[in-house]
């Protein structure tokens, strides 16, 4: 087990180097001279020369790459180009709001989707099952933008049940007042695909021999579904949920943007709009690191819930 973890961590190094290289190529080479982007449209040659020296882009590429690698390792990406706020500070302060919205969203949507999936899979082929699946398919096809625009207009602007947008200082106020409508929209958007997927997971289990055995020894249908079937279906479900976890770090871009939630997702959009390269670079690299770690955790979790799995 330990050997496995060490090997996996070791394998992350080339991938991380690849991510660094990719980001470096994108921002220092494809994107042109960062000095011009930073200096803006009106700038003298002298200013540009100054900025180039400050950023180190007057050095050869391998020196620039080394500077970037040092930045990643020391977690010091300097300051944002547009607000001069330290990038590490941006990352630290934007994480909280993102998680406030996304952790409850992920928990509620997973639980609801599991419950519904067990229900519709139990009555598979019936009118209810088909109706739910049709609603899911159509619901999936409507753009998330439409949901956000309509819900924000209707529930917040028209009915006034929720604030139209905003964010406060206290955690509970944020969670109850400001985050509830975003969470509701997130649920509408995320339950449909989850339900469709989880339903197939449950259907894979529902015809297995152990279900017949459980029924033959007289167990209640509830116990069969919620204990026997769910336990087995939870293996792929957990993998799927773990794979979604890195998404928590970048947040729901659009929801954060519409509701002015100061999270990482909104920060990314702002940074792209302002060509704020250090912020995008930092967020991309760290989210990639987090993704790799979560993938490893998912594999370990997989082993924990299913002892048959052999980690290689």
């Amino acid at each position: 087990m330990t050997a496995y973890i060490i090997r996996r961590l070791w394998q992350m190094i080339p991938t991380l180097l690849g991510v660094i290289l990719l980001v470096f190529i994108l921002f220092n080479w494809v994107g042109g001279d960062p000095a011009y982007v930073l200096a803006g449209k009106i700038s003298s040659a002298e200013q540009i020369e100054n900025i180039r020296r400050q950023l180190g882009v007057d050095q050869p590429y391998y020196v620039q790459l080394w500077i970037f690698i040092k930045q990643v390792l020391t977690a010091d990406f300097g300051a944002s180009w547009s607000t001069n706020e330290a990038v590490s500070h941006i990352m630290a302060t934007r994480l909280g709001p993102s998680l406030t919205v996304l952790v409850p969203l992920l928990i509620i949507s997973t639980l609801v989707a599991i419950g519904l999936a067990l229900g519709v899979a139990y009555v598979r082929g019936s009118l209810t099952d088909r109706a739910v699946m049709i609603v899911c398919t159509v619901g999936l096809s409507i753009s998330i933008l439409v949901y956000i625009i309509v819900f924000q207009y209707f529930f917040a602007y028209k009915l006034g049940w929720f604030p139209v947008q905003g964010w406060g200082d206290s955690f509970w106020q944020n969670l109850v007042v400001y985050a509830s409508l975003p969470i509701l929209i997130g649920l509408v958007v995320s339950i449909a695909p989850d339900l469709r997927l989880f339903r197939t997971f449950v259907l894979d289990e529902i015809n297995q021999d152990y279900v017949r055995t459980a029924r033959a020894k007289g167990l209640s249908e509830n116990r069969i579904m919620w204990v026997h079937v769910l336990r087995n279906a939870s293996i792929p479900i957990i993998t799927h949920v773990m794979a979604q976890l890195p998404g928590l770090l970048i947040g729901a871009f659009l929801i954060e943007r519409f509701f002015s939630i100061p999270g990482i997702g909104r920060e990314v959009i702002l940074a792209v709009e302002r060509s704020d390269f250090p912020v995008i670079k930092a967020i991309t690299v760290y989210v990639a690191v987090a993704t790799m770690i979560f993938t490893l955790l998912a594999d370990l979790m997989y082993k924990a819930v299913d002892p048959r799995v052999q980690l290689k």
Binding site: V19, V37, L145, V146, I149, A271, V272, S275
Partner: protein
């Protein structure tokens, strides 16, 4: 003899799949819808329809009215009433076409001219005599033009936007952009994924390692974040740029599947046979193996089109997608966001519905296609 009838060839994979697809009602309906959208895209792309979508044909925020003929006849007498009757939701009658304050005067002038014409004086003579003839003609021309605008405004089935452009035409034009971007990007991504997957799966060893490294790098960065990062770098906007962004970042899923297929197929007997008759590696890869896995590629392409249409809409909405002079569903939704506060819901409804219809049909068709091509899965 079993070979009595040389024409009794057993149907191939595609013929069988098509037969299964034909039997599937949902598949045929969704295929029809998808085909209709594609036709719309081609017609609009070649300029046959919705060519002058950017022309301001109606009043600002003209509400949708389906009763074209009625409104047209009523348009002369009471244009505003007719159009507001057409949309019970509209809350701001002041923003609707207001009756021309000069209409009465115009009517009086027109009445007089008609009277003078009716009194027996020939029109040509009156023109030569009347010193006001030029001005009159001008006024008359203006009057008829104003009427024409009102009449046309009253027949916009999907309403008008901020500048009075026909939303129906915008939706058609937006469909062209969004579907074209989705298709083109999906072709690019599937091509890359298939090529990389074929090379990695077929040759294996160090080539496989390299492509797997690429794969792990691209999948380590969440998809939308990667797209936004590339969009931040590529400053010049354009359809080509967004196709490139989506295509270059979206090949990973296709790569993994195709690589697996090539791994599976390269050891099969028919490939060994091809080797024995001296087929080159490239020939074995693309002439012998590829037709056997092309159904996987087709399903991947179909999945990617839907995914990319959705991504394009989001990117264009955020302003990182198509340039401002090109209309797409995303840019329409962006405009609609502010219009909704004013109670102008029709552009949102039009763009949202068009997209939902196409995406629903396309996903249902993709599912049916997969079932038809690989009946074992069902």
């Amino acid at each position: 003899m079993p070979y009595d009838k040389p024409h009794a060839v057993s149907p191939g994979l595609w013929a069988l799949a098509w037969r299964r697809l034909r039997a599937d009602k949902v598949a045929m309906v969704s295929l029809t819808i998808v085909a209709a959208f594609l036709l719309l895209m081609v017609l609009s792309g070649t300029g046959l329809i919705a060519k002058n979508w950017s022309k301001e044909v109606g009043v600002n925020y003209a509400p949708p009215s389906f009763v074209g003929a009625d409104a047209e006849t009523a348009g002369n007498a009471a244009g505003p009433t007719a159009s507001s009757a057409g949309s019970p939701e509209s809350e701001a009658p002041t923003e609707l076409p207001v009756v021309d304050p000069l209409a009465d005067a115009l009517a009086a002038i027109r009445g007089e001219t008609q009277k003078s014409e009716a009194s027996g004086v020939p029109g040509a003579d009156s023109a030569s005599v009347d010193p006001l003839a030029d001005v009159m003609a001008d006024i008359r021309a203006k009057g008829s033009k104003a009427e024409a605008v009102e009449a046309r405004a009253a027949t916009l089935p999907f309403g008008g936007d901020k500048w009075g452009r026909d939303v129906l035409k915008k939706v058609i034009k937006g469909s062209e952009t969004s579907i074209f971007v989705g298709l083109a990007a999906a072709v690019v991504a599937t091509f890359l994924g298939t090529l990389f997957g074929a090379i990695a799966g077929y040759y294996g060893r160090w080539l496989d390692d390299i492509f797997n490294w690429f794969y792990s790098v691209f999948t380590a960065i969440p998809y939308l974040l990667l797209i936004l990062a590339v969009a931040a770098v590529l400053q010049q906007k354009g359809m080509f740029t967004i196709i490139l962004i989506l295509g270059l970042t979206g090949w990973t899923g296709c790569f993994r599947l195709i690589r697996g297929e090539y791994l599976k197929h390269k050891g099969r007997e028919y490939v060994q046979a091809a080797d024995a008759i001296g087929a080159s590696n490239a020939r074995r890869m693309f002439v012998h193996i590829f037709p056997n896995i092309s159904h996987v590629v087709l399903v991947q392409l179909s999945i990617l089109v839907v995914a990319f249409i959705k991504s394009e809409v989001i990117l264009s909405f955020l302003g990182f997608g198509v340039p401002v002079d090109v209309v797409s569903w995303g840019s329409m939704l962006n405009e609609a966001q502010n219009e909704l506060i004013l109670g102008k819901w029709w552009q949102l409804a039009a763009a949202g519905t068009a997209m939902a219809l196409l995406v629903t049909a396309f996903s249902l068709f993709t599912d049916a296609l997969r079932d038809a091509l690989d009946p074992k899965l069902k």
